[in-house]
């Protein structure tokens, strides 16, 4: 893959100012008093990047470099870009283009990611750069994850600025989410360290397609993780997600073993991965290898991206999947993206009463007392404060 020229940031800024929007925006922000926060006003620029030497690169013969961050183990010729679109060989040295240039930076409720067992009702700062090391045909954020950094607008946000932004907005956590944090590993690691020092908690939402060693390095900084387990069939992973199943399972075990508060999201895509037997096997595996108390979100598929002509998941399919998951002994099985569904609520495994009632990302009722069910006192796993 050819290296693309990253647009020089000053050029991008000049263009933007030319359009007259930057000035107007600055005036507005000052006038409206929104700029009072510690974070300075940020005007995104197209193709903005801060190329910098990356970790997990090793030199190989012929001026090549090998990236050992994820299981692809890309060997890159000089000038070549890795599958993730953000890591490259620059004259024999491994560089990342996903550092300090988030494409997505937004505040939102943690339930939206979804984290159902972490600080209910709290708001988090989500952050993601361009790029992904998988290629899911049902990607919801393909215009962010499956593009080169040159193609989209990015904010100039060094790690410290991110922390500043989160703190000044009074947020409790930083989430590496929506895109794929594995590909902005170095950036995530630095922010996570600073966040830990600043007393913010770190939330990781990932497909977990990463090598054990780099994962091991970041895990101590992560408070909670939601892993997209997209299927339980290696062929599905290969054909529909452009990845491999085994490394994801390995990462799940590692996260759990390290004591990270773990949740799993499993999209149910009609005809592609909603086979009952496979689902049952997956639930048994989760129970045996990770524990019955790991929350599982069964997410509804809506026709999008490359699968735009496939009908949405019938709710009856989700209901049946939820029943199967509960039958196998999983204690917290949720239905995601069906607003108002009973499966959005958390039920106490002890007494069966609802401890958290949700509608979408809104908390309607909360019956938790210091992490325990206020009906029966049963401990509910999670990071509740």
């Amino acid at each position: 893959m050819a290296d693309r020229v990253v647009i020089d940031s000053s050029e991008g800024r000049r263009r933007f100012l030319k359009a007259g929007l930057g000035a107007a925006c600055g005036a507005c922000v000052a006038g409206a008093g929104l700029g009072a926060s510690a974070a300075r006003a940020q005007v995104p620029e197209v193709g903005f990047a801060r190329p910098r030497p990356g970790q997990w690169f090793a030199s190989a013969a012929g001026n090549k470099v090998q990236c050992s961050l994820c299981p692809w183990q890309c060997v890159l010729e000089p000038g070549e870009r890795a599958r993730c679109r953000v890591r490259l060989n620059r004259n024999g040295a491994g560089y990342t283009l996903a550092y300090g240039n988030p494409v997505l930076l937004q505040e939102e409720p943690v339930e939206r990611l979804p984290f159902f067992h972490v600080l209910p009702g709290s708001r988090t700062l989500s952050i993601s750069t361009a790029g992904c090391n998988l290629h899911c045909k049902f990607c919801e954020v393909w215009d962010l994850a499956l593009v080169h950094p040159e193609e989209v607008h990015a904010y100039d946000m060094p790690p410290r600025a991110v922390i500043e932004h989160a703190r000044s907005a009074g947020l409790a956590s930083v989430s590496y989410a929506f895109g794929e944090p594995v590909v902005f590993y170095e950036y995530m690691l630095e922010i996570a360290q600073l966040a830990r020092e600043a007393g913010l908690i770190n939330l990781l939402q990932t497909a977990a397609f990463i090598e054990p060693e780099p994962l091991g390095r970041v895990v101590p900084l992560i408070d909670a993780a939601n892993v997209d387990l997209k299927g339980f069939d290696p062929v599905f992973y290969r054909d529909v997600c452009g990845g491999e199943l085994a490394p994801v399972l390995r990462s799940l075990v590692a996260l759990r073993a390290a004591g990270v508060q773990l949740e799993i999201t499993h999209p149910l895509i009609p005809t592609l991965n909603d086979d009952v037997a496979t689902l049952r096997r997956m639930c048994h595996w989760i129970r045996a290898e990770l524990g019955a108390d790991v929350p599982l979100h069964l997410a509804r598929f809506y026709p999008l991206y490359k699968l735009a002509n496939l009908p949405q998941t019938p709710v009856s399919t989700l209901d049946r999947a939820r029943e199967i998951a509960m039958e196998t002994g999983l204690e917290f099985v949720y239905v995601a993206k069906v607003t108002g569904h009973e499966g959005e609520n958390t039920f106490c495994p002890g007494c069966g009463e609802a401890v958290v009632r949700r509608i979408g990302f809104i908390i309607d009722e909360l019956h938790l007392n210091a992490g325990r069910c206020s009906h029966c006192g049963e401990a509910i796993p999670g990071r509740w404060h």
């Binding site: 107007a24 995104p44 962010l144 607008h153 592609l272 496939l310 607003t339």
Partner: protein, 814 residues
């Protein structure tokens, strides 16, 4: 003996020629419909399929010319051709049904452009080659029957074929689509053409050798076998559909397939979910009558309906265009409305869907406050006299020129005129949550700015499903979840699919600010359509602040961000978005077309004229051949460019009435036939390049006149006058193009001395021109530069041909 009318002999091959026209029209429609099930029903797919059709028919006519020139056994060849055509047509339909199996593609995924091009070319080759050959062979027979050396036979064949295709088109639209499957339609067409050819072979009084008895017997045997086999076509049809649906939507049960003139409607079931497809394209999925909790299947529709309904303080009179079957209607009538007029295009869809819909939707359709009107939404809005408090437009995204009519400035203007004071419009499209891609941002910003050019206030809300609210009443549109919630509760609406919390979810502040910023700020520079949209600054101003800021921003780039009937850019952006979504696709190749400028037509014109001059130096014959060839090519091109322009304008202005569109095509073909007949009868010396040049000039002048007349014609209020105007313009365009054919063919013959080669060449060149014209007019010129530019393109093309002809004439001083 041949039949006699008023003492004049009707040659037996007329039947074959008419049949050829009819069979090619029916086959074209059937194959197009079948292929669109596999591809995607946008103009690009249609253009590619038609281009492949014309290309192969052109090659076929060249082959036919070669055979007719060398062999005297024309009748044998024709008979065998007709006999082979029937099984080939049946096989073609079968192969198309199973075509997805040849691609390595996931269920639910769109095929890429390369797939569509390769598939169209491969699948249609055999049938088109045979049909193309028939034209030249029949022209030869006609010439022999006339016992002449000139190309009059070709001219007559051309007229006969045009009339046959009108008949075929009408027969398909009014009869075959309702009563016959695709297999039955092509089988009937194939049988009729074979029978006509057989009759012709029996009766022919030409100098070509009579058909060999063996060939005749074989053909008769084949026909009889085919006739018997027709009984099994129903089973074949069912089998082929099952095969197709196993690839399109595996693990779904294909319940029913209905043929409607608007496309093939299929209903597939999976568990208790019913999915409705039009032409293989997912329209919507709903819960079934047996679903225990049907509310969640139609949640998107419910959210749209309640959000729109609560935006108005008292929506008593509501107009809903589309969407009623997917649940929107059932949710609307949960509010205390007095009347809901629900406009749905296709009665076949309503009838087919009804038994499979959840109880709430069926009850809604029976509600006394609801009036179901089967009509085109634009026709309805144009003719409606009563006012509405709220108009909800729930039609598919503007993926085609036809759908794009619900997203143009003119249409929004008509809707605005229908709204009562304080009224509101709501419309929605599929989007991406971040709006980062150029295609989707361009399309949605265009929708925003187009609404903004008509209404005083516009508000986009949502993420994956993006709702636009528009109104002229200041301060009516609300972004306050609490206020909307209060209104919802006060009306005591009870919807299992919706809760008052939804307002908060929908109007989540961060998303609302981001979406508004992107759509309001995008499209304000001359090159905005070529770049990714500006992302929102941090912190993002509130919607209120953004409105204040807008006053200081540069104006909207109207050329690229206002969707109008006469420059339907909206569907081009949707086409780009579709490009992003196809199997291996990206919007990049289409994005490049956005650079197209009107002046780009000048360099090719210059190059062609230079070439004409250069050839003149070489000698008399090559430059004449080139000039005549160019005239034929440009006539084909302008024929299609004008037809696209007229059809687009007609559809937009008059409304989409399928029969009317068929009628417009028929009028065009009638003009074509009349033009050809006129030249044929009245022009004595047809091999006259001066006359041909004059015709080119006349076409150019007519195209210019149409360009000038279209916009004022569109503004005329009376539907009758509009129709009369369009009919006249359409007939005139067809007539002038028809005049061209006999002249050009005879000019070629004068240069080449071979009648069939000339006819084949002219037919092929004209088809090639038509291919290019259809493709660039519908997919590029109309949406990017404008409908009138299609006419100007036609004018420029024919003017160039005229100039080239004049240059070539000067070589012999003539």
């Amino acid at each position: 003996m041949p039949g006699r009318v008023s003492g004049r002999t009707i040659p037996p091959h007329i039947g074959s020629v008419l049949m050829l026209g009819a069979v090619s029209q029916v086959t074209q429609i059937v194959l197009l419909r079948e292929l669109l099930m596999i591809f995607h029903g946008n103009e690009l797919s249609i253009g590619i399929i038609l281009a492949a059709w014309m290309a192969w028919v052109g090659v076929g006519s060249a082959l036919g010319a070669a055979i007719a020139g060398r062999s005297r056994r024309v009748l044998d060849v024709l008979l065998l051709n007709a006999a082979v055509l029937l099984p080939v047509l049946l096989l073609t339909v079968t192969v198309i049904r199973g075509l997805r199996g040849f691609y390595d593609v996931l269920p639910g995924a769109y095929l890429s452009l390369v797939d569509i091009i390769a598939g169209s070319l491969l699948v249609m080759a055999p049938a088109c080659l045979l049909i193309g050959m028939q034209f030249v062979l029949l022209a030869r027979l006609w010439r022999d029957a006339d016992r002449s050396e000139h190309t009059g036979g070709a001219g007559k064949t051309y007229i006969g074929e045009a009339i046959g295709s009108i008949l075929g088109g009408l027969a398909f639209t009014f009869v075959m689509v309702r009563h016959l499957s695709s297999f039955q339609s092509v089988a009937l067409a194939g049988l009729l053409v074979a029978a006509a050819v057989l009759w012709c072979a029996q009766r022919s009084e030409t100098s070509v050798r009579p058909a060999r008895p063996l060939v005749r017997s074989v053909v008769i045997a084949l026909l009889v076998t085919a006739g018997v086999a027709l009984a099994g076509l129903g089973t074949l049809d069912q089998w082929a559909y099952q095969l197709q649906w196993r690839q399109l939507a595996p693990d779904h049960v294909l319940l029913e397939v209905h043929q409607s003139k608007y496309g093939n409607i299929a209903i597939a079931r999976r568990d208790d979910q019913y999915s409705f497809f039009r032409s293989g394209h997912l329209m919507f999925a709903t819960a079934g009558p047996e679903t225990r909790e049907p509310q969640f299947e139609a949640q998107e529709a419910a959210v749209f309906a309640h959000f729109a309904m609560t935006q108005h303080p008292r929506p008593a009179e509501v107009l809903l265009i589309g969407g009623g079957l997917r649940g929107t209607l059932a949710e609307i009538i949960r509010h205390p409305v007095e009347r809901v007029d629900y406009v749905e295009l296709d009665p076949v869809l309503t009838r087919a869907a009804l038994p499979h819909l959840p109880g709430a939707t069926r009850a809604a359709l029976a509600d006394p406050r609801v009036r179901l009107v089967h009509s085109d939404g634009r026709v309805y809005v144009r003719q409606a006299s009563r006012g509405y408090d709220l108009v909800i437009i729930d039609v598919p995204d503007p993926a085609t020129a036809v759908l794009n009519r619900f997203y143009t400035r003119e249409f929004f203007g008509q809707v605005n005129a229908l709204l009562n004071p304080g009224g509101l419009l709501a419309i929605a499209v599929v989007s991406t949550p971040g709006l980062r891609g150029g295609a989707v941002a361009n399309r949605n910003a265009t929708l925003h700015h187009t609404l903004g050019s008509v209404f005083g206030e516009v508000l986009p809300v949502g993420d994956r499903f993006l709702v636009f609210l528009a109104s002229d009443a200041p301060g009516l549109i609300s972004t306050d979840p609490a206020g909307l919630r209060r209104r919802y509760l006060e009306r005591e609406v009870r919807s299992p699919a919706f809760s008052p919390h939804h307002f908060q979810l929908l109007l989540e502040d961060g998303q609302l600010r981001r979406v508004n910023w992107i759509l309001r700020s995008h499209g304000r520079s001359s090159t905005a359509q070529l770049t990714a949209p500006e992302a929102a600054p941090l912190p993002t101003p509130t919607v209120y602040e953004q409105k204040a800021l807008e006053a200081g921003w540069p104006p909207v780039n109207e050329r690229a961000f206002i969707n109008s009937d006469f420059r339907p850019i909206g569907y081009f952006y949707t086409l780009m978005f579709w490009g992003d979504l196809t199997r291996a696709g990206s919007a990049e190749p289409l994005r490049r077309l956005l650079h197209v400028q009107a002046w780009w037509v000048l360099p090719p014109i210059g190059a062609l004229l230079l070439l004409a001059l250069a050839l003149r130096v070489v000698g008399r014959r090559p430059d004449r051949q080139f000039a005549v060839g160019l005239a034929v090519f440009t006539t084909g091109l302008s024929t299609m460019a004008l037809q696209v322009a007229l059809l687009f304008s007609f559809q937009s202005v008059y409304g989409f009435i399928y029969e009317m569109v068929g009628l417009v095509v028929a009028i065009f073909m009638a003009g074509l036939a009349a033009g050809t007949a006129t030249t044929h009868r009245s022009v004595k010396r047809k091999a006259n390049t001066g006359l041909l040049a004059a015709v080119q000039l006349a076409i150019a002048a007519a195209a210019t006149l149409i360009a000038i007349l279209l916009p004022p014609a569109a503004a005329v209020e009376s539907a009758v006058i509009v129709f009369a105007l369009f009919s006249t313009l359409t007939f005139a365009a067809g007539f002038l193009n028809g005049v061209d054919f006999p002249l050009a063919t005879e000019c070629f013959r004068a240069l080449n001395r071979r009648a069939e080669r000339s006819a084949g060449l002219v037919y092929g060149l004209e088809l090639a021109g038509a291919c290019v014209g259809a493709a660039i007019a519908s997919a590029v010129v109309a949406p990017i530069i404008g409908i009138t530019a299609c006419c100007v393109l036609a004018a420029a093309a024919n003017a160039t041909a005229c100039a080239a002809l004049l240059v070539s004439r000067t070589s012999d001083g003539g």
